[in-house]
Each structure stands twice: as C-alpha cells, then as structure tokens.
C-alpha cells in the first residue's frame, strides 16, 4: 500500500482542473480590455464570489497540509494558527474595509495617496507590498515544487516552471477576472474535499468527536498533552506575538486588500468579508478534525511509515495518507489534485497583486502612463518578470527551510502596512513624514528582528543561538510602528 507512488487519479483530476481554468482564462481574456477590468475584474463581482476568492487566498496548501500536519505532530498548538487566521477578518472589516473601499481604486496605495503626498507613499507601499508578495510567493513556489514532485513524480525544476507558466498565463490573459474565478473554483473544491475527508474520518469514530479525541490521546506519544496549547505556556511572548501577526497581518496583505475593489460597493465588500470569515472558519474546523483524526488512523498504521518510522513523503503528507485511509486512492487523488490547484490559485493572486503594484502604483501613477493600453502592456511585462523571478527563486530556495517566509510576510504586513494604512484612514494628524518614516521603521524592524530570530538565525543560518529570542517579532514591531508614525507626525506638524 505505497500511496506515495504517482497516482493516476490525481493526474486526471488535476488535468481537468487545468483545462477548466484555462477555459475560464480564455473567457475572461475576452472580457478584460480596460485597466479597470484587469485590476478589479470590472468591479462587478458578487459578495459570495468575492468572499470565496478572499477565503481562497487564505486556504492555501500550507493551511491544508501544514496546519493538519502540525496538529498531528503537536496537537492543539496547530489550532492556534487556524483561529489566528480567522480572527483577522473582523479586524479588517471594522478598521479598514469601508474607508479603504471608499478612498481607493485599484490598490491600497491609492487610498494612502489621498491622505499624504503621493510620490513617497506610493514608493514605500510598492516596496513594502513587493517584499510581502516575494516572501509569500517563494514559500508557495517551493511548496508547489515539492508537492508536485511528490504527488506526480515530476522533476522539481520542471514542476516549478510548470506552476510559474500556468500562473503567468492566468494573470497575463485573464487579469483579476480569471484569477478570481480560478480562486473560486479551487475554494469550492477545497471546501468539498476537506468536508469529505473530515466527514469520512468522523464516520470511523461513529460521528463522536469525544471518541476521535480519546483515540488520539491514547495513541499519541504525548497523550493528553496534545489537548493543551504547549507552545504558548513554554514561550508566551512568541505565542502572543504570533497572535498579533496573524490578527493584524491580514489587514496589511496587498493581495487581500486589492479584492475589496472587485465588488460594486461598500455593502457588498462587507458581505464578502463575512463569507470569507465563514468559509475560513468552517475550513479550519474541518482541518482540526483531519489533524486529530490522522493521529488515530494514520499514526498507528505501519503502511504509512518508512522502515525508520518516519511518515512516507514527510510530515506534510498526513492529510493525503488520511484521505487514502478513509477513501482509498480515489479520494487521495482528488485531495492531491486540490492541493496543487490550491497553490496555483494562490500564486496567481500574488502575481496579479505584484504586477498591479508595478504597473499602477509605480508606472502609471509615478512615471506617468501614455495610455491605458500602455499601462496594460507594462502590467503584462511585470507579470512576466514576476513569474520569471518566482521560478528562479523557487529553484534557488529549493533546499532552504522556507517555513518562516509566510510568517515573515505576515509580520511585515502587520508591522509596516497595517499601521500606516490604519492611521492614514482614521487619524487626521498623520503627515507624509510620519507615514513614510514610521512605515520604514516597521518594515526594517520586522525584517531585521525576524532575521535575527530563531526561525532564520538558528534554523536556517545554523547559528547556535538566536540574537533576538522571540519569533515572530510583531508584539514589539507593531506598537513601535504606531508610536513612530504618531511621534514623527506630531513633530513634523509642529515644525
């Protein structure tokens, strides 16, 4: 029962997904002519569609495979990630969404530049956005390469080029409309697939959550300790800091903020955030069942382990093994194809956001576009450049531990973008100097302290001890940025 061999059902499901999404891209390409259609899909998406697309941005392969694997390994600590991701939606809804939607046009820099001087703030927000997108993209590309290699037996480099080529195709030809529909299709498939695995897993325990958790406690080497948040009590500062990064990072992610402009009005934007919160909440509840269910059904089964006792294909394959255990190779094939589709959809959204930053924020608004056609040409060129860079970085970082990169992206989003955006939208006293220098302080401190922290300094650069002991640094850098923006604004205003 070696279920890490190439699964023909995975390939079939995946090819069907690729064909359907390429069809959607062709349809979207015929409807996307103006810059507005390319950046926002024409601004006519429904609340449900946009909610699914926004939720899809957070239901990544890392969330499905990584969080379930973390729950299987350490238990309850994995749940904190899911809860943290969902807690970001009420914050973005109450603090950012309405005013951003009323002030902005295509990107969040549009809203910022109505409050402070356009040139410096667009340069800062473009730089910050591109850094956040780059870290997110590298993590997704490396994950994609490893996953495709494992599931379909493709060579790593070929897999990376294949993923990069498809994402460039979606964005260049279909813009936001194609990218959103790819995200919607994937989100529906992912929710259905996750519900199927969670439901079949619960069925094995007579639909009793108590029995499922009781079995997990009996089997896991840490027994009842897996039901308590061990990492939080071991390192409370890092635990709370992670909570801050997850809760406020969402409000500073450029590819999420961009989606508020794809709907016709503020009311629809609000309802779409509610849908995103609902779908993400339900998704993570199912991931918890999958993670704890895998302890009961995968952990004790020697067929899923190598001779040395390690899980076949690595710890992140636990969801695939569980799918095989409860639904055979057909369900495993379906889930594998969904996992890959998930990565494709997320990287397409990131690429679109990065290309929009370059063509709209930097080129059209700062250099000055000759025409709309010219701006779209720049956007397509930027997509090609970002796609090429993503492929190159995916290959360069192949053997690196990139797990910290999503955390780093969220830390920078929470520490640099969120404070600048929040104060620009809600505080009359902000000045250009305050927004710019405060934002730079947030960006540099989040980046620098992550570099000196345990994830990079010890686990990636192999130093014996971290210079900065907490990871992520958001608990320090988010307040620091707020204080810096307010202090510099007050000082420059007085002057």
């Amino acid at each position: 029962m070696d279920n890490t061999q190439i699964n023909p059902i995975s390939l079939e499901f995946f090819l069907v997904f690729v064909l359907i999404t390429l069809g959607v891209t062709y349809w979207a390409a015929r409807r996307s002519r103006s810059s507005s259609e390319f950046y926002t899909g024409g601004g006519n998406m429904s609340a449900l569609g946009n909610g699914l697309a926004i939720a899809g941005d957070f239901m990544s392969a890392a969330a499905l495979l990584g969080v379930s694997a973390m729950i299987t390994q350490v238990g309850f600590d994995g749940m904190l990630y899911g809860i943290g991701f969902v807690s970001g939606w009420p914050i973005v809804l109450a603090l950012v969404a309405e005013r951003l939607r009323r002030l902005g046009r295509f990107t969040f820099a549009d809203a910022l530049s109505t409050r402070v001087s356009e040139r410096p703030i667009r340069i800062f927000s473009a730089l910050s956005s591109l850094i956040v997108i780059a870290f997110y993209l590298i993590a997704q590309m490396v994950g994609a390469g490893q996953l495709v290699q494992l599931l379909f037996g493709l060579n790593y480099n070929v897999a990376i080029v294949f993923v990069g080529g498809l994402m460039v195709c979606y964005v260049i030809f279909g813009g936001m409309l194609a990218t959103s529909w790819v995200q919607i299709i994937k989100a529906v498939l992912l929710l259905c697939g996750t519900a199927l695995v969670a439901g079949l897993t619960l069925a094995r325990f007579h639909f009793s959550l108590g029995e499922l958790l009781g079995t997990a406690v009996a089997i896991h080497p840490h027994h009842a300790a897996i039901l308590a948040p061990s990492a939080l009590s071991r390192d409370p500062v890092s635990g709370l800091s992670l909570g801050i990064a997850l809760m406020f990072g969402t409000s500073g992610l450029p590819h999420i903020l961009m989606r508020f402009f794809t709907v016709p009005d503020v009311k629809t934007a609000r309802v779409s955030i509610f849908y995103a919160c609902l779908f993400n909440g339900v998704f993570f509840l199912m991931v918890f069942i999958i993670g704890f269910g895998a302890i009961g059904l995968v952990m004790p089964n020697p067929a899923f382990h190598t001779v040395s006792g390690a899980l076949r294909g690595g710890a992140n394959m636990v969801t695939m093994h569980l799918a095989y255990a409860v639904g055979g190779s057909a369900l495993m094939g379906f889930i594998s194809a969904i996992a890959f589709a998930t990565i494709l959809a997320v990287v397409a959204g990131l690429t679109l956001s990065g290309a929009s930053t370059i063509s709209h924020d930097l080129y059209a608004c700062l250099v000055g576009s000759k025409s709309e056609k010219h701006e779209l040409a720049v956007m397509r060129a930027a997509t090609l450049v970002i796609g090429g860079a993503a492929i190159a970085l995916g290959i360069i970082f192949r053997n690196q531990n990139v797990a910290y990169m999503v955390g780093l992206a969220l830390s920078i989003a929470a520490s640099a973008n969120f404070p600048v955006l929040l104060l620009a939208l809600r505080w009359d006293g902000i000045t250009t100097a305050g927004a710019l220098y405060g934002g730079i302080i947030g960006l540099v401190s989040a980046f620098g302290l992550t570099l000196l922290g345990p994830s990079v300094w010890v686990k990636t650069l192999n130093h014996p001890a971290a210079v900065f002991p907490w990871d992520p640094p958001a608990i320090f850098t988010v307040p620091l940025t707020f204080v810096a923006i307010i202090a510099i604004s007050l000082y420059t205003k007085q002057k």
Binding site: R119, L232, G239, F274, G281, L285, F288
Partner: protein
C-alpha cells in the same frame, strides 16, 4: 517632498463607529483571553468538558463560531446604517 497633511478629508464613513469599537474590542478580548487561558491554565484546557471533548477544543471551536457570528452581526448592522443614510 515631505509636507503637512493634504487638504483632502478623511474617508467618509456612513456606518457609525459604535459597531467598529464593539467588534474590535469583543474579538480582541475573546481571542487574547483564549491565548492567556492557554498560557495560564493549560492543564485545565486539556481536561474534559462535555462528552469527552476537552475545554481547549470546545473553547477553540466556540471562538471560531463567535468570530463568524460577530462578523455577520456587524455586517447586518453596518449595512442597515448605510441603507438608512442612503435613504
């Protein structure tokens, strides 16, 4: 290059600030309360609450449901206020 705030006014907000404050404060209290419970009384969270389900799972799932429901109520209230202003 660096100047004083531009003349443009703050973004208009039709919905009142009350729902914003209630949502952010209630979500923060619930979320960080949950994290502090994990720091201060982890053993209690691991103990069974009902039908063999531990407090940790029960509170975690309840928190997720609270986040969804509070977001839904906020949207209903804010959109109703918007409609009132539009009307």
């Amino acid at each position: 290059m660096l100047d004083y705030p531009r003349e443009s006014k703050q973004a208009p907000q039709k919905a009142g600030k009350g729902p914003d404050i209630i949502l952010v404060s209630s979500v923060s209290v619930a979320y960080y309360g949950f994290l502090f419970a994990g720091i201060l009384v982890p053993a209690m969270l691991a103990s069974p609450a009902v039908l063999g389900i531990p407090w940790s799972f029960l509170l975690g799932a309840s928190l997720l449901i609270f986040l969804i429901v509070s977001t839904g109520i906020y949207v209903l209230v804010s959109n109703a206020q918007d409609g009132h202003h539009d009307g």
